[in-house]
Subunit: 334 residues, 2 copies
């Protein structure tokens, strides 16, 4: 039996093995992704992002428990840590999680650290998510740390994006960024039993309101677009980000959060956004593969000495990078 | 007179105009970069990164003032904010800076927000830095917010990378990441007049020590490599990250920090690392341009209908992305 067949048959060991091959981008991993592809497109992908200290991991845990118990869903958790480029940094989080979720064969947790370039991380995450999707996981929780471009890229992968905040995390103007607000379908104020929750919610509402007055967020071909409010696009469906309070450590507010997520799914389905997002996601996968293939074919077509010569001339500033590209493109074997 | 000639003649208005064209990736911007390229390769690029609330911007200000007054250097500041994908978020920071540095014709400040993909951000930053380099700025301070892959990519661009911490920013294990330590040439504990500075320094020393015992960081062809300590690479030059305390708002510790930066430059020059890093940087520019050219040529070669057909079949799961690439590569006009 092939590895991908074993994964379709819900063999957990085969799943773990295949994920490693997919992460390492081996030929076997790629062949399996190809075989699994017809079985994808069913899962609901939920992205969860937010600064360290907001209790994201605990919230992800609680969401997983809730989907298991109340929805009888099979749940996968993908924990992506883009701030750890060299070493796997999410191990501790896994241990903590294991206590609540271990022994449940319908939960699978996978940690990923950045190992290559960022494009690589977003693409690898997409591939890992495809494996879980084909393996019959209904809900895939994709957790990322921070507020950088990695989160934005990974948010594009998800159907629903939660941005997690917590009271008193700093009055720094940079703590709550407009850019992060714009990727949020649902804003979660976790640790809502802490002092300052009112002012955090007020600040978030104020920023949402400001954004609503000065710009319109709408969806177009699966991309979230932001335009000045002066240019109305009446035909576009509009989702207004909801704000939810939770105390994840006690499970408080989690059922209400799950309801908000369900409302967002209904919006995506009714507006046609679900299909648009899927199309955008598949297109970005296709484009990345095309690019990869073109570059590897180019490398095979060019004499290494020509490339080195061009680089040496660039070092001496006698050839600009743009001229070097012309030279190399024209110097290909065919 | 061309725009690039005006920039070489130190015309500030021309510089501002050209930067906009370069950021927007216009043909005129590219032509000017090509013309300016022979004049690049002189500036010292210093990357400054760290979490919000560490006082990075104030520190960058103080470094700029110090290089102006004590070194008579021309200083450019590039403030990159990858957490703001849609809106320019660095405007407030600029205003604050202007008070100290305005009126000085040998200081130029430019803010950039992420507008495209992250690869795009690193490449655009590299292009902006090239313009400043050609325009005769001796020191280019590249400030980034956060601790994500964007910072790692931009750190690769810099000769010297400062990672800024502050006491009491959170005991969260994620606050000081191993990955970020690994990109630091110099660790700066800013706001060193605050309580907790001792324990922050102890924590940083501990993590550096641990890293030193378990892994070796060395340089190889301009890339920082991390290997287990068991595999010695005796021939490789080694820089041990320094820890410096500052109180940027009062300028305290800034002269000592500047001395540490000068030691790092001496290390880079003596070890040959300066040239290796430059080579690695030029190579990444060349590779990005090659990739871009290949993709745009491919798009011109393929019938849009073929591409759309492939995507529709992918949506129906009857064609995998890998098979779609084969189909499209073989279906090119030539």
């Amino acid at each position: 039996m092939t590895l991908s067949q074993a994964v379709l048959d819900r063999d957990r060991l085969a799943l773990a093995r295949l994920l490693t091959r997919v992460e390492n981008n081996t030929d076997e991993g790629r062949a399996a992704l190809d075989e699994l592809f017809p079985h994808t497109g069913k899962a609901h992908l939920i992205g969860i992002t937010g600064a360290p200290g907001t209790g994201k991991s605990t919230l992800v845990n609680q969401l997983a428990l809730h989907y298991r118990k109340d929805g009888d869903k099979r749940v996968a958790i993908v924990a992506v840590d883009p701030s750890s480029p060299f070493t796997g940094g999410a191990v501790l989080g896994d241990r903590v999680r294991m206590r609540d979720l271990s022994g449940d064969r319908d939960v699978f947790i996978r940690s990923m650290a950045t190992r290559g370039s960022l494009g690589g991380l977003a693409q690898t995450t997409a591939a890992v998510v495809q494996v879980f999707d084909a393996a019959g996981f209904d809900v895939i929780l994709i957790e990322t740390v921070g507020a950088g471009q990695a989160e934005v890229d990974i948010a594009r992968l998800a159907h629903t994006t939660l941005v997690v905040e917590a009271p008193g995390l700093g009055d720094d103007i940079q703590a709550i960024k407009a850019g992060i607000l714009e990727i949020a379908d649902i804003l979660v104020i976790n640790k809502a039993d802490r002092p300052g929750v009112e002012s955090t919610e007020r600040a978030l509402r104020g920023m949402l309101e400001l954004a609503r007055q000065t710009q319109r967020v709408f969806h177009h071909h699966g991309q979230r677009m932001v335009v000045p409010a002066q240019e109305p696009k009446e035909e576009s469906p509009l989702w207004v980000a909801e704000i939810k309070r939770t105390v994840a450590k006690d499970g408080e507010g989690v059922p209400e959060l799950v309801e908000a997520i369900a409302r967002h799914v209904a919006f995506l389905r009714e507006s046609g956004e679900w299909i648009s997002r899927e199309r955008a996601q598949l297109q970005s996968t296709l484009d990345a593969l095309i690019q990869e293939r073109l570059v590897s074919r180019f490398r095979a077509d060019i004499a290494p000495q020509h490339y080195e010569d061009a680089l040496s001339k660039m070092m001496r500033r006698s050839l600009s990078p743009w001229k070097a590209v012309e030279l190399l493109m024209n110097g290909r074997k065919k």
